[in-house]
């Protein structure tokens, strides 16, 4: 059976199944289990209404539980076993990992990524949002800077492979170096700094995201506060840093944490650009070197990533609960 046909069948079964499930389960509830007639009409309606939310929630909760909640526990449990999965070795995988030089490099690099990418993307996003705010062609500029959001990490990596290429006839950086009489070099093989060249690809992708949200936040600032500051003699920089930025601090933090979480997921860039060579591994890419080879180690690396995400996760949940109050 061709995958295209299989795909169409899945859409029909999936969509039909979902609609059918919701429709018939509701009908079953209202007509058969708690019918709204007979001696207990009132009680039956109330009971049906108590059960109904769970009918609506069940498919989503089931999928969320199975595909996201269970793996947290499942991964941790698997990481306590050796490669074959038969022998319990406690924290053996973690101890071995911390003994590996590459793993320590990956952790250090990942910390660099988590510090640099969100900071840089938020900063550039804020800069563009502010600069384009009163520009006649601001919307076009924003649209173009937002564009990399649509491009896959693999596609973006290829785009930047061209820019970084060591061949002066391909890479624009080396072409400029060449014309200035400097020696040609491969940026991706320059130890330590190559990490930043890779990070910049993600900054390039994420700046648009930061810009869109911060731009909306800047527009939401009440104009009276800005007018008052200007009348009091504040210059453009003072207005920006002392009036605007403090008022959108909450949004800046949201943007920052959202990008932080993304950074901890992205393995594509390192995988495509260097394959982790030249000291550029980060945890997600390092995990893929164990995937399909040693599930114990792979899940251990994944759990280390989870530990890094945990503070952001807790902060997010607290934030969401505050909003609901």
């Amino acid at each position: 059976m061709s995958p295209v046909f299989q795909g169409m069948l899945t859409i029909i079964i999936g969509v039909g199944g979902c609609v059918g499930y919701f429709y018939f389960s509701n009908m079953l509830l209202d007509k058969v289990i708690f019918p709204a007639k007979g001696p207990n009409t009132g009680r039956n309606i109330n009971r049906a209404n108590q059960v109904r939310p769970w009918l609506f929630l069940f498919p989503a909760m089931f999928a969320l539980g199975l595909y996201l909640a269970y793996p947290v526990v499942g991964s941790f449990w698997r990481s306590l076993f050796d490669r074959s999965g038969a022998n319990f070795i406690g924290l053996g995988n973690y101890i071995d990992l911390f003994g590996e030089g590459t793993f320590r490099t990956a952790v250090m690099n990942n910390l660099l990524w988590v510090l640099f990418v969100p900071a840089m993307a938020t900063f550039l996003g804020l800069l563009v949002a502010q600069l384009t705010d009163r520009l006649s062609w601001g919307n076009i500029a924003k649209s173009l800077i937002f564009m990399p959001m649509a491009i896959s990490f693999v596609g973006a990596s290829l785009i930047w492979k061209f820019v970084y290429s060591a061949n002066p006839d391909i890479g624009i950086i080396n072409s400029i170096r060449d014309s200035m009489g400097l020696t040609v070099l491969d940026p991706l093989q320059v130890r330590f700094w190559n990490n930043f060249f890779l990070m910049f690809i993600l900054v390039w992708i994420q700046t648009g995201f930061a810009m869109v949200i911060l731009s909306a936040a800047l527009r939401g600032i009440p104009e009276e506060t800005i007018e008052a500051a200007i009348i009091d003699g504040a210059n453009a920089f003072q207005v920006f840093f002392k009036i605007k930025v403090p008022q959108i601090m909450g949004t800046i933090v949201v943007v920052w944490t959202t990008i932080t979480i993304l950074v901890l997921k992205v393995f594509d860039i390192v995988y495509t650009m260097t394959g982790g060579n030249f000291g550029t591994h980060i945890l997600p890419s390092y995990m893929m070197t164990y995937m399909f080879r040693d599930d114990g180690r792979a899940t251990a690396v994944a759990f280390v990533i989870m530990l890094l995400v945990l503070p952001v996760m807790i902060w997010n949940i607290r934030q969401a609960r505050n909003e609901m109050r």
Partner: protein
């Protein structure tokens, strides 16, 4: 209201220039890829894409046939034109061109400027003129024609040959269809499941609602990496294994937290009056959902659909783990990262074209649906 302070022309200019530089920095790499995908392989390796509109000097090789030699006063003379070589007919269809330099050795194809007479290694002399005509003089009979190398200015050439190669020979057409096959069910199914759940979380009263919403927010940030090993094991155990069905289920699961979160945030903001008056008129929850909530939530549904579409289309990780690695089920990202980068690593034209084929659809979706995308982003992040 910055202009109240009387912004001067200078700072306005500075702002314009800064934004232009940033936009160029953001745009140029992609343009480079786009231009490269239409360029000839030889041209790519001889000049940067920023020189694409200009002519480049390329090296060619022409074989001189020995059978046309004639004898004059004891010297053998061989005359002809390098552009007439049949192997060059594709490059110089009318057999004319301009020779900048020529040589007789492959290691130094541009040793002598055009028009200068040089010694042949086997004795005798050779000259190649600017118009491509050559004259070889030799004291002995020429039995084997020498090979001439020359450098000629070639006009910029843009071709669709790369697209032809990528789509047919490299199997990108198959990968494109595979990507579509993965993407469409993986976009539609989570929307439906999430919409019902979001309605329940937004408009139905039941104990534990707050806790469930917090759980969804928490799951929003669970790293995908955690899910890979346990779920692949699970899929293998229940007989799904690595397959399209497996990846549809995986994408559905991974997309749900964002879908539920976005849709709930939107539905909560719908006017309470409409829903309550529908209830008073005797509508059931199912009817309210289908007739009122779904149509009103269209903007939120559209923005999530775009997110999920872009995410699944661009995904590499889930496809690598949940799909078999054979060519018949490779999606485009996997094809590029695992296949083309390895086998076609140095062939920049092919790489550029493959990348452009894979980003074309998301770019079209992005530019046509940008409005919904922005709205979705704002609903998710700013409250």
């Amino acid at each position: 209201m910055d202009n109240i302070a009387g912004q001067n022309q200078g700072s306005k200019l500075a702002v314009n220039i800064t934004v232009i530089i940033l936009v160029l920095l953001w745009l140029l790499p992609t343009i480079g890829l786009f231009v490269s995908s239409f360029r000839d392989r030889d041209q790519i390796s001889n000049s940067g894409w920023w020189q694409a509109p200009f002519a480049v000097d390329l090296n060619f090789r022409a074989r001189v046939a020995a059978d046309g030699a004639r004898e004059e006063n004891g010297t053998f003379i061989l005359e002809g034109n390098v552009f007439a070589d049949p192997s060059l007919s594709g490059r110089f269809p009318d057999a004319t061109g301009v020779v900048a330099a020529y040589g007789t050795r492959a290691v130094d194809p541009a040793e002598f400027p055009a028009g200068e007479v040089s010694e042949l290694r086997g004795g005798g002399t050779v000259v190649v003129n600017r118009d491509g005509s050559y004259r070889i003089e030799s004291p002995e009979e020429v039995t084997r024609g020498p090979t001439l190398y020359f450098e000629a200015r070639t006009p910029p050439r843009f071709t669709l040959a790369n697209y032809d190669t990528v789509l047919r020979a490299d199997g990108m057409d198959r990968a494109f269809i595979n990507t579509l096959t993965v993407t469409i069910p993986a976009t539609i199914i989570p929307i439906l499941i999430a919409a019902f759940a979001a309605y329940a979380l937004a408009w139905m009263d039941f104990p534990g609602r707050g806790l469930l919403i917090a759980a969804v927010v928490g799951l929003l940030v669970v790293p995908l990496q955690l899910a890979l090993v346990p779920l692949l094991t699970l899929h293998t155990n229940i007989g799904i294994g690595q397959s399209f069905l497996g990846i549809w289920l995986a994408h559905t699961g991974f997309g749900l937290p964002l879908a539920v979160y976005l849709l709930r945030n939107y539905m909560v903001g719908l006017p309470r009056d409409i829903i309550e008056s529908a209830k008073v008129d005797g509508a059931t929850d199912f009817q309210i959902f289908v007739r009122i909530i779904l149509p009103l939530s269209f903007p939120a549904l559209a923005s999530f659909a775009i997110f999920q579409f872009l995410w699944t289309w661009n995904d590499l990780l889930v496809a690598k783990v949940f799909l078999p690695s054979g060519a018949e089920s490779q999606v485009m990202t996997v094809k590029i990262a695992d296949d083309l980068l390895g086998s076609r690593g140095g062939d920049w034209g092919i790489l550029a074209t493959a990348a452009f084929v894979s980003i074309a659809v998301p770019l079209v979706v992005f530019f046509t649906m940008q409005r919904y995308l922005v709205r979705g982003l704002l609903a998710g992040s700013v409250k």
